[in-house]
Amino acid sequence: MNAALGGRPLLRMRRGAALSPWRRRGNRRLAVLLASATLLLVGVVLALCVGPSGIGIGRLLEIALAAVGLGDGPPAGDVERGVLLHVRAPRIVLGAAVGAALALAGAALQALLRNPLVEPGLVGTTAGGTLGAVLWIVFGAGAVGGVLGGFGLAVAAFLGALGATVLVVAFAGSRGRVDNAVLILVGVALTAIFSAGTGFALFLADDQALRDVTFWSLGSLSRATWPALAVVLPCLGAASAVLIARAQVLDALLLGEAEARALGVRVDVEKRVLVAASALAVAAAVGLTGSIGFVGLIVPHGARMLVGAAHRALLPVAALLGAAALVLADAGARTFAAPAELPIGILTAAVGGPCFLVLLFARRARMAG
């Protein structure tokens, strides 16, 4: 339909110079897509070779060559294998999946609600997840911690996040339709209520619990293990796949709900699907990583500035950039304060904010000039 990702049908039928801007646009989008993929790849390699155990880029290359029977370096030892496969790799996979899912959810909700200030947690998801996590840390961990093991926190946050979204949509719906303005306002109201609950729980908490909550709330990928990923990845993958498949619907929704409906979009069904997929992404992410803010708000805007608002081009780029952002942020988090680990939320905000400002000013300069 549009020239997204090379726009092949457009190129085939081009005739005369009138089409050239489109060709430029298509090529530009392809270039941005490839650049985003490259950035993610660089991030993955970088994240694989930073850390306290001293497996650098040279050693990584040796191991990789040895693994495919090339080179003369010694193959990976047990420790190295353990570090790469069971410490670093799961974090990278989790970071990439969470980053992509959050960026997709942000892009989708911004389009659905036609509002650039929307972030995926807006519909109560993050506040609900936080309440679930805090309740668990303050009251649950001591009481039944042994039963659920390390999963307890993740499960509590996940349930809190999903439950909150269900509540918001249920309150906002009326006669089968969910009004956008009401959805946002109900989200704001329930967020306040959940925050009050969180605050009260914190009031009752002891010092250790307070510290745990603080670290959880700043986010971390350190809880990434393969068994945990086996649960979380399908959620993130399903949510991401659903959102990417909605590219055309999201384009139509940009026109407005009535317009989309007139174009044959089943708006009321699609709206629930989009909110559910976004909530699933945020809930799965928040459970394992804590609340990593910012990615879902800023990355979609950055991607939009690079490739425009058409979702066939926007969504893949946003997903790749979101993934790259979290993988790189985690690599940084493990490096800057080594051997300690900075909470990743600090980095996504500290690096993402300036990046966003640069994009914003560049765009403004281009439009003025």
Binding site: M1, N2, P9, L10, R12, M13, A18, P21, W22, R25, Q110, A111, R114, N115, P116, Q248, D251, A252, L254, L255, G256, A258, E259, R261, A262, L263, G264, V265, R266, R304, G308, A309, A310, M367
Partner: protein, 261 residues
Amino acid sequence: MIRVRKLGYTRGRGVRARAVLTDINLTLLPGELVALVGPNGAGKSTLLALLAGDLAPATGEVRFDGTRLDLVPPCELARRRAWMRQGAGVPFALSCLELVLLGRRPHGTRAASDLRAARRALADVCARELEDRPADQLSGGERQRVDLARALVQIAGVERALLLLDEPTASLDPAHGAKALGAVRVRVDAGAAACVALHDLSLAAAWADRIVLMAGGGIVADGTPEEALHEAQLGAVYGAALRVVRDPVSGRPWVLPPARP
């Protein structure tokens, strides 16, 4: 193509309910351009939304080719009916060509012919040069032309299509306004039915086959421009001494604003 019987619409519920439309009877035939005119708040936009199937009638019914409108599958309706609202614009930077191409969505194809149709529609409303412009940076008149192009492309190549346009010329200069209605006229002459809300009564008289004059949620007059636009009726509906003269070239009514005291 469209038959409306005893249509009524109410906004709000309970004691605060307010009748927006009452007892509307209307027929739209293929090959007919019907102008919907009347003062602000007469119910023109609501009537168009009901004809589009976006609002459900409180009383009465709308039939589309004999089928009750709410029973026509949305995707089938979307292939034959285009509706242009008084738009709110797009929040993010779709290009105008992308925006117009969305009109082809109901037809499911993604072919080169869609792109040609979109460009032709943009050219029809003199907006060809806008195709690469971000749609969130258009002036009011530019946006209106692009929206109209989207409506036109939605029914491009469709037989017996229905065009519902809510003030498509409100922000257009006279030349673009005439060009826009000319583009609608071409579709109508090819067999579409069009219902167009307009505030410019002279423009309506110049382009429409029939004029439906609305006031206070009801239809006051429904007939040829000569029948619907005469001074006594306009005076009663608008509460102002509008004057009707003849266009010396076409002989159609030409409505002038009240004379200065």
